[in-house]
């Protein structure tokens, strides 16, 4: 019974931790936009957590610059299991316009398993919410496997 309860709760209370790996702030602003009254992602139980230790979903924005790579990876490793990694915007997926630069390490999936990619530059709030909901489903699956 408790296992089921916990699995159900996991899907209903995903907390986000947001890492900016050299983003232009476009995606960051859009992420904040989904918290505003118009979209209000909190009604689905989402909440921005201040520390990776408390997060379930890690949202990475930006093209993963060489300076930030180690830091991104260490912060992701500090998130307790089960966790779900979401890349947001085109940058962490392909490098976007920065691709080929000596200082950019994108895509992030080279270094760590990414569960959900939200494409767009920057993605629409609706897309972000859709991606996050998908992430919660993956989270629930991971919870169930344990």
């Amino acid at each position: 019974m408790f296992k089921k309860l916990i699995a159900e709760s996991t899907a209903k209370s995903p907390w986000l931790f947001h890492i900016n790996s050299g983003s232009c702030n476009g995606c960051d602003i859009e992420l904040v936009a989904v918290l505003t009254p118009r979209y209000d992602v909190e009604r689905l139980g989402f909440k921005l957590a201040g520390s990776p230790r408390q997060a379930d979903i890690v949202v990475v924005t930006g093209p993963v610059t060489r300076q930030s790579l180690d830091r991104v990876l260490s912060a992701i490793s500090q998130v307790p299991e089960p966790r779900c990694i979401v890349t947001m915007g085109s940058c962490p997926q392909s490098g976007n316009v920065f691709k080929g630069s000596y200082s950019v390490c994108a895509p992030l999936s080279k270094y760590v398993h990414v569960d959900v990619d939200i494409a767009g530059c920057a993605p629409k709030p609706e897309a972000i919410m859709d991606g996050l909901v998908k992430a919660t489903e993956i989270l629930k699956q991971k919870r169930g496997q344990k």
């Binding site: 890492i19 990776p52 830091r71 991104v72 260490s74 912060a75 490793s77 500090q78």
Partner: protein, 644 residues
Amino acid sequence: MNLANMTDYHHFPIYSVMVLFLGAFIIAACGSKPSKDPKNPAGFRAWIALCATALSLFFLGSLVKPVMLEGEIISYWMGSRAIAGGYAIGIAMEVDALSLFFALLIATAVFVSAIYSIRYMVHDECVPQYYVLYCMLAGGVLGLVLSGDIFNMFIMVEILTFAAVALTSFRTKVYGALEAAFKYLVVGCMGSTAILTGVIMLYAQYHTLNLAQLANLIPGTMNNATKLAFAFLYIGFSTKAFIVPFHPLAADAHGAAPASISVLISGVLTKSGIYGIIRLTYFLFQTMNLGSMQFMLVFIGSISMFVCVTMALAQHDFKRLLAYHSISQIGYVLAAVGLSTSLGISAGLYHAMNHTLFKGLLFLAAGAVLHETGTTDLGKLGGLSKKMPHTTVLFLIGAFSISGVPPFNGFASKWMIYQATYQKAVESNNIGFLLVTVIALVTSTLTLASFVKVSQSVFFGQMPKEYENVKEVPFGMRLAMGILACLCIVTGLFPKTVTGVLTEPAARAVANVGEYITAMGFKSNLPAPNVTFAQVGVWEPINWLLILCIALLALTIVAVAGKYDRVSERTEDDTVDTKYQLFYGGEKNVYSQVGGGDLFWGFKHNWRHYFDFMHNLHSGIVNDYALWAVVALALAIVYMMIVL
């Protein structure tokens, strides 16, 4: 003299003092050749000191039954020279419940500190001399509280000041030790001079030095010279109690002395000053029924508690911080005693006892940290709880006790003080006493804050690299701390028993001056007062603890069933996994310890003008401190002349 005569308990007070002086003499006579044992450089001399203190404690402990429980007052004339022609000629010891109460506190602290010293004083030179001075100090304080003769009180004050100054500067290499000793000597000497002047002026008036006879003669015959003597004596004992404005000396002396001596300075020396003030105001001059005298003591007590706790918040050194707290707690004692209600006196004495226990514990913990790491600077330490788990637990017990966290002993006594002040405010319909309650309550929280600062910056937080090899302190030191910690918990859990056996008889003795006079063989017509210790509040620590244990048990069952302790931890060989590193906003391998003096910035920012002012005021120049003493003396004289 046969054995039965010698084991008569009437001789025990003098035995308990003499055994310490004798110990000092034997240790000094044994020379100063250090022993070969590196763990105990003083060799058998340490054991002599320990035996002397243990015997002293034993003698005093066996007096509990007759004096505390049966209410006898032991009067003891040296060489059987009693009263002639209505005047006390011989030297007397008079042990009533008040004296015995303080003597027990002192003997306990001295004994525990002696256990601690054996392992603690291993890095020093001249350790045999340390034990000589140690026994002298202990004997001096015991002699002071057991004496029935005011000139002997002065002699003992000199002995203890002398020993304390020498022990303060014992570690001459320690930063500021000599300076602290010199300041203490100058102001302490002014205090002793004040006491001597007061004593001799009383003698000029009444031609006796016996406390009981003075108490019989002085009230009702006060003139200007007596008032002057009172002011001198009061200031003299104030310097021994280190109350405001003599608190900077305490801070300097505690910080520089070895921890085992800091225990004595804070737990024992300050008590001797408080004892002197009680004897002076309640017995000799019997002025405590005057509102103005109550006002003076309560006012100085409140000022002491608040000023010193704020000074403590600004400190960067572990022992200096403890030293200021010491005076802050003495402020509580003085304020409670100054209320002149039986509950107030009982509460004040209870707090005095608890202060000896928890402050001793805290100083010993500070000494343990110093012993292992070589520093007490709050800015340099951190994370020692992993290396010194027992010391951490013992320190926390002391810290909770002093900050008045239930169910430890500090709370039990502070709780009585709050009630006593509030009761006094209601009874006398004076809103000023209510302010004292508020100050006491707020001071208690500030105390907690500064101990949170210590635990964060010394025992918790991150550990600097250089302390990787720190070990737990030796068993002997932990034993000493353990004894005090157990006493802290026991006296906190059974407040009714403790007050019933120890503080209430003492408070009764304070109220019943007539008996003190008649026990010495003088005629007194002071009536025996009716003393009650009614409390308005309710606090049942045992029941609370029982409920808490049930609650904890229930939670533990749930936690075990839910596998609460199944955690992910770093394995021994795995040093690189970033998962177990602290989160630094993504930065790698950063050492950062939040500690030191500015932890409570939010508080200090609002009070910055006050803190700046205080910092400049405590200039560290001995002339300034001497000036404070002179001004205090002048104010005391003027005040006494006006109100008495």
